[in-house]
């Protein structure tokens, strides 16, 4: 599965990285983030764009699966 690591980047960079990865790599896409703000922002962005989003905590980080 395609995966990007957006941990450590501040918004809106994780959302831009996700948008670009969806264009370049396509679905399904796994995104790693390290705070609830990008988690919410990416979820909102992906759902607005018509994708399905599942997320779960992963240690101190979060993993989103966009499909």
């Amino acid at each position: 599965m395609n995966q990007i690591d957006a941990r450590g980047f501040s918004c809106p960079e994780p959302v831009l990285m996700t948008k670009k990865a969806l264009q370049d790599l396509g679905k399904p896409l796994t995104v790693l983030v390290d705070s609830p703000t990008p988690l919410q922002n990416i979820t909102r962005f992906a759902r607005n764009a018509g994708h399905k989003v599942d997320s779960r905590p992963l240690g101190d980080d979060f993993e989103l699966v966009i499909s």
């Binding site: 450590g8 980047f9 809106p12 831009l16 948008k19 705070s35 909102r44 607005n48």
Partner: protein
Amino acid sequence: MKSKERLWMIGAGLAVGVIAVVLVVLGNPANMGFCIACFLRDIAGGVGLHRAGVVQYIRPEIIGLVLGAMVMALAGREFQVRGGSSPVIRFVLGFCVMVGALMFLGCPLRMVLRLGGGDLNALVGLVGFALGIFAGTLFLKKGFSLKKSQPQSKVEGYAMPAITVALLVLVLAAPAFLFFSSEGPGSQHAPIVAALAAGLIVGALAQKTRLCMVGGIRDALLFKDFHLLTGFIAIFVAVLAGNLILKFSGVNPAAFTLSFAGQSVAHTDGLWNFLGMTLVGLASVMLGGCPLRQLILSGSGNSDSTVAVLGMVVGAAFCHNFGLASSGTGPTFNGQVAVVIGLVVVAAIGVGNLNRKAA
């Protein structure tokens, strides 16, 4: 989940607007229930970093905002200590945000409050602000990045809340070495308890909702995502309604005056109101949020934002020491030069931090 998020955002925006209007009734300067730039500037003056006698006070709102954000972040298990993402550049960007904000006489939040009071100069500022944000989104699309932050020690994360607690002790003890304005905007303030409570509530709400004036326009431009913008609009609606109620109930006939001239702590020089807010918008996009958001993040463990806030405080001191800040009579020549230099510096930072691979 989406509608719940939106309800929170609208509710928070309305609450911020109402609280801002109440703070003015309780003594804050007109259209200045909150102004992150003005209040950080007042704090810089209060501790003697500049000697502009009319803008010196330790604003409890700032203390409340940081501590309210900290409590909410801890309660929501969102207090995460991160830092180390281009700290010096963030300091410089914070400095430049302040140069632009003190040209216009307000941060983006006060711009909305001024709009809600009928100050048409703020409309000119808003257009400049949006242009600055648009320019910032072009840098982002070209791969602008201040690089990754890293986990830091707990002590790093609690530094900013600790600084604000120290400020609270100072304002309560009021030792002789502090400076408190006896006239001008710095002398106009709500009682300490009310200002602190207002800050705590707004800080908590802003942390919970990620309310951000810059993010609102930025996300609308980048992703057609209007979530943050609804908070911005809710603040405006609440302030407008509150001011109109005050005006027509006779409590304060001056609460809403639709005009360019005669506005409180504002000037009518359109070009420099525009360019000042362009600088604020552009530099804030690169920081990842408006001055309010930086302050909230600084209370949530983000030491990158703390550095940006410290840059704003030092920037404010320079603005008054070097005669860069505008006054009700208009901008200064020094201030105009500083805004142009600021725009050049921020653009250079933008170009210098483009990630070629992402372009």
